[in-house]
């Protein structure tokens, strides 16, 4: 009996929930900026609370349309009910004789009035919608740089492009940093099938279509982490094709960009474990993954030069911890069945060495 109780899950989870509830107000007080972060909200894909100009204006339109639709529904229901009771007194027809056709005066007036009112409201809504579409088409100011995002089964490649200095370009994956309060241009291409780029707290969806480059932009007005998600079914692991947008303070963003430009640190002399790890990585993983500054230069999978700067792996499927990383490298087909990453043919010591090596890529 005792052991049964011990093994039951609810008894394990209860303290955690209570702990979170108790901590929540404290956290909110400690750092208001964190309130926008993905971790602190139970609904990271919620799109009615937005944190940027593009999302804000669209959310107002959504609320407005919802209010008008609700109002029209109520009005029509009331009119139908009133009509039922007003004409309730008409006599029943006798069998065999046709129903008397009544032409009460003024009946057409209701139709003309209804048509006119509906047309006016619809025209107003079209104008409002067009205005919002025009508003979100381009940001208020010219974006300082572009992120070229390539969607593919099932992750996001991101190439940062500085228009003034081509040498300041670099590639990363799945976790995009942007400076808070500034618009960023995003171009979207696909390497395989149709995907859709969606960061609900910041903007609506933009489809990612093979053979053409779509354009969108993002701006976050509050620091924090925003979750994005592929929003067009794209195959087996569509649900595990997520991304994270980090809105950083401008200095932190600049430091991040500068750091991303650096090649990986060289393996220190005398560390046999890391030397083995680097060699095994190059042989087993380097055909698909790049670590800039080494001979591993594959382009089929994410660039891992600064893997330890990321909070998650496998397109935000798993947290980036040594435990999750080990399991992912050893058996990606179990974590994300169908993923293009194959299960590698590694011995235990080789896996251990590769993981140690990856942990140095900060």
């Amino acid at each position: 009996m005792m052991e049964r109780l011990w093994n039951r899950k609810p008894s394990i989870q209860a303290p955690r929930i209570v702990g979170r509830l108790a901590l929540a107000p404290l956290l909110a007080l400690a750092s208001p900026a964190i309130a926008a972060s993905e971790e602190s909200t139970s609904a990271p894909m919620y799109y009615l609370k937005t944190f940027g100009p593009k999302g804000d204006i669209t959310a107002s339109l959504t609320w407005g349309l919802l209010a008008i639709a609700a109002g029209v529904s109520v009005l029509m229901s009331v009119l139908v009910i009133v009509a039922m009771f007003r004409n309730g007194r008409s006599s029943m027809a006798t069998p065999g004789s046709p129903l008397p056709i009544a032409h009460p005066p003024g009946g057409h007036r209701w139709i003309y009035l209804g048509l006119a009112l509906t047309t006016l409201v619809l025209i107003a809504l079209v104008i409002w919608t067009m205005d919002v579409l025009a508003e979100i088409d381009e940001p208020a100011g010219e974006p300082a740089f572009t992120i070229e995002v390539t969607g593919q089964q099932w992750w996001w490649e991101a190439r940062y492009v500085d228009p003034d200095d081509p040498s300041r370009s670099f590639v990363t994956a799945n976790e995009l940093h942007i400076p808070v309060g500034e618009p960023v241009r995003i171009t979207l291409a696909s390497r395989d099938v149709i995907h859709s780029f969606w960061v609900p707290a910041l903007a609506g969806k933009t489809d990612v279509i093979p053979g053409q480059t779509n354009e969108t932009w993002l701006q976050a007005d509050r620091e924090g982490v925003y979750r994005g998600q592929c929003a067009e079914y794209c195959g087996l692991q569509h649900a595990h094709m997520a991304l994270r947008i980090f809105a950083d303070a401008p200095e932190a963003f600049q430091a991040w960009w500068d750091h991303q430009l650096e090649p990986a640190d060289e393996v220190p002399e005398g560390s046999e474990l890391l030397a083995v790890g680097e060699r095994q990585f190059r042989l087993q993983c380097g055909a698909c993954h790049a670590v800039r500054g080494t001979l591993a230069g594959g382009e089929a999978g994410p660039d891992l030069t600064h893997l330890m700067d990321r909070t998650t792996i496998a397109s935000v499927t798993l947290p980036n911890t040594p435990g999750h990383l080990s399991g992912w490298i050893a058996d990606p087909q179990h974590q994300k069945p169908g993923t293009t990453m194959p299960n590698p043919d590694l011995s235990g010591p080789e896996l251990n060495a590769i993981r140690h090596y990856l942990e140095t890529l900060d």
């Binding site: 911890t321 040594p322 080990s326 399991g327 993981r355």
Partner: protein
């Protein structure tokens, strides 16, 4: 003839006995052990043990990389090398490479007291 025990009294005695049963769950050492196991379960989820191991009671712990950890409290050996005692489990969890050099299990960065919690959870898997 008078009854030896009044029915209401008998009922009260029964209730007291049941109350005693449920209170025994709050007994110091046992509830400490349960708290430890509960913290251990959270750590197991956070550190990603389930990416490699199948672990009863942990959400998503369905890994096929390492051995399943069901009945871990009843198993004789850890890593086929050392006896399955609480102390040995903590050594294995905090520094697996010292037990079997080169093996695939990573040091997941558990502190000593955290390893104790995780070991308590694994020990509870009978």
């Amino acid at each position: 003839m008078r009854r030896l025990i009044h029915p209401a009294l008998a009922l009260a005695a029964c209730l007291l006995a049941f109350a005693g049963c449920s209170e025994s769950g709050g007994d110091g050492a046992v509830s400490d052990r349960k708290d430890q196991a509960a913290r251990g379960a959270e750590l197991i989820a956070a550190k990603g043990c389930g990416t490699c191991h199948e672990i009863p009671g942990i959400d998503g712990a369905t890994g096929r990389v390492g051995p399943p950890l069901d009945h871990m409290g009843d198993r004789m050996f850890i890593a086929g090398m050392i006896r399955n005692t609480a102390e040995n489990m903590q050594v294995w969890l905090t520094d697996p490479q010292s037990v079997v050099p080169g093996n695939a299990m990573p040091d997941t960065g558990l502190e000593a007291d955290e390893a104790e919690d995780v070991a308590a959870y694994l020990e509870s898997l009978r």
